[in-house]
Symmetry: C2
Subunit: 355 residues, 2 copies
């Protein structure tokens, strides 16, 4: 998710980097004293974190600063907590999805799979070694997301509310991930509402909703504003996912960095697919999805998605959700600076609607 | 691990149950409001926790009480934290070990494997569904181990030290698990020292060392005593594992509840096996371990383990470690009541040496 153009760059990003760097430096010293192989795991874990765009930290820092918060070290610590939560969730999500690469390069599980393969393990055993290392690394990231919160310089009540928010993020993302895991067991295609609910729980709550609220809580914002930011985050985060699914199906790989038909091939449940499932074209699409897709098959599916009206409906859904999200920000109790600072997040969605 | 005869039963156990019951009741209400399938996951998670012997909570409560602690609700909250950590670690350890049963009944992964099988998934896909649900459930248990600590009624400095201890437990168990995962990649059999180190990290630290220290820290014990309890815990916990491995190889299934040769069949690295690997009988043992073991093969391995002297060396190691652990407790600064209360833990080891 490239936030380069949507949120202002400030020294805050540097501060988050410093907090995370300091954490990993200490962790690696400790791990290295225990075992060289353990140091290796921490190095891989750090690489997972460093590779990201720091999107969630930016939401925390931006909200905090725009609400007048001045204890940027405390905010950076909260921000680092959400970054580690994100690291934990993508590492474990890759285990669930049996993915061994991320953005074209080996992920943590992929690195350990290679290690096992190099030592003579069978492909199956090597995959399991990779997945096992990823389970362990994700646990370390998750545990330390909580540890960061315990270190935030804030009064007990604020710290308690920050803990409740992290808890909400973890509970929601686990719910979304479970629904995603169990969805294929249901013979009925998911409805659009089910897809949106899953996507909200799995991604929007921890990636948008709770980081925004955490920044506001730390800045001492009123409950009304905190809740509005959460609502904005859940809706814009869901809109983002709807639009991102369009990229998965229609995107130009060279421009978006996503493989054009990866989502289609994996049979991923998306709003786009749910709309298509209500139309006569669905039978043919289902037939194509059930087999190993060729490029020609994928092109045919895309044509059917357009012909069925599913693409237009998805575009409209993303646009409607974005509008609803922005409406939340125009309420009078939302400070102008915050509205101006966060509204550009809608470009995350509209950028993806041009595909 | 049956602690029925080794630590005094008190009302403390009831208090820990109440803390955990309250937690799961609230969590299930919240999960049920999100999705019925999510409620199901929490019910399975609760079943994992309820099924245990509450060994780690008992260590926390016993140490705290014997050191004169009176805020038993705070102690029960710390105890509940270690119980949830244990739940998280066994659930994820079962994923790593690809185990779908525990003590003869389906574990959490096994329950979801059955669910997927019932819905028509292939055996391979069903196993992955089970493992995925277990990754998610373990994450929830781990996150809530940290949440419990945030709720402990204690001053900030004590709370910080309790957080450091939980962190030590998580960091050590992850290190031990990783070494266990990567050990098969090393063509050399592990030395006894390597096995003991892995076992200390993977189990003794979180199951003995840190619960004992946490009880003492909460009770306001001196640093000297806290560290001695940790040392006692690490050594007795390692001794327990050495003796337990004997049960795995020589135990009578009907009496111990462990399958007599499960450990041998899985090629588990144990002190017993490391001793055997130094002897001429090892070539034949290795030959047998490499194939699907029959009962006759297992009997032959047992004879070779005795003939090689590995069994006797293992018994001596367990006895020596137990003695070393008890020596820690006889230091003059260890209160008599605590020494009397914790020394019976040595029976956990000696009980296993009679096999």
């Amino acid at each position: 998710m490239d936030m380069g153009t949507t949120l202002a760059h400030t020294d805050d990003g540097q501060l988050v980097n410093e907090v995370l760097d300091g954490f990993f430096t200490r962790a690696k010293v400790r791990a290295g004293a225990m075992h060289p192989q353990y140091l290796g795991l921490w190095e891989h874990l750090e690489a997972c974190t460093v590779g990201g765009k720091r999107f969630r930290p930016r939401l925390v820092m931006t909200t905090y600063s725009l609400l007048g918060g001045t204890n940027t070290t405390a905010a950076a610590t909260v921000a680092a907590s959400y970054e580690l939560l994100h690291t934990a969730l993508i590492i474990h999500d890759d285990v669930v999805d049996q993915d061994f690469t991320r953005r074209g390069v080996p992920n943590l599980a992929g690195a350990y799979r290679s290690l096992a393969t190099d030592q003579g393990s069978s492909p199956e055993k090597a995959e399991h070694t990779g997945a096992s290392a990823a389970v362990i690394a994700g646990d370390l990231a998750l545990a330390n997301a909580y540890r960061f919160l315990a270190e935030v310089d804030a009064d007990p009540a604020t710290r308690q509310r920050l803990g409740d928010l992290l808890d909400e993020a973890v509970v929601a993302s686990a719910a979304g991930e479970l629904l995603d895991v169990l969805a294929p067991l249901d013979p009925m295609p998911q409805t659009v509402d089910q897809v949106l609910e899953m996507s909200k729980l799995k991604t929007a709550v921890y990636s948008f909703d709770t980081p925004l609220r955490a920044g506001a809580v730390l800045a001492g914002a009123d409950q009304e504003l905190v809740e509005a930011l959460g609502e904005f985050g859940r809706i814009i985060g869901t809109a983002y996912q709807v639009a991102d699914d369009l990229v998965g199906a229609f995107g130009d790989e060279s421009r978006t960095g996503k493989t054009g038909w990866g989502d289609l091939r994996e049979g991923k449940r998306t709003a786009l697919i749910s709309y298509a499932a209500e139309q006569p074209q669905w039978n043919r699409i289902k037939e194509l999805l059930a087999q190993d897709l060729t490029a020609a098959d994928a092109a045919e599916i895309r044509e059917l998605l357009v012909a069925s009206g599913a693409r237009d409906k998805t575009l409209k859904l993303a646009a409607d959700l974005t509008e609803r999200a922005l409406d939340v920000l125009v309420q009078p109790f939302v400070p102008q600076a915050l509205r101006d600072g966060l509204s550009p997040l809608s470009r995350l969605v509209t950028d993806r609607m041009g595909v």
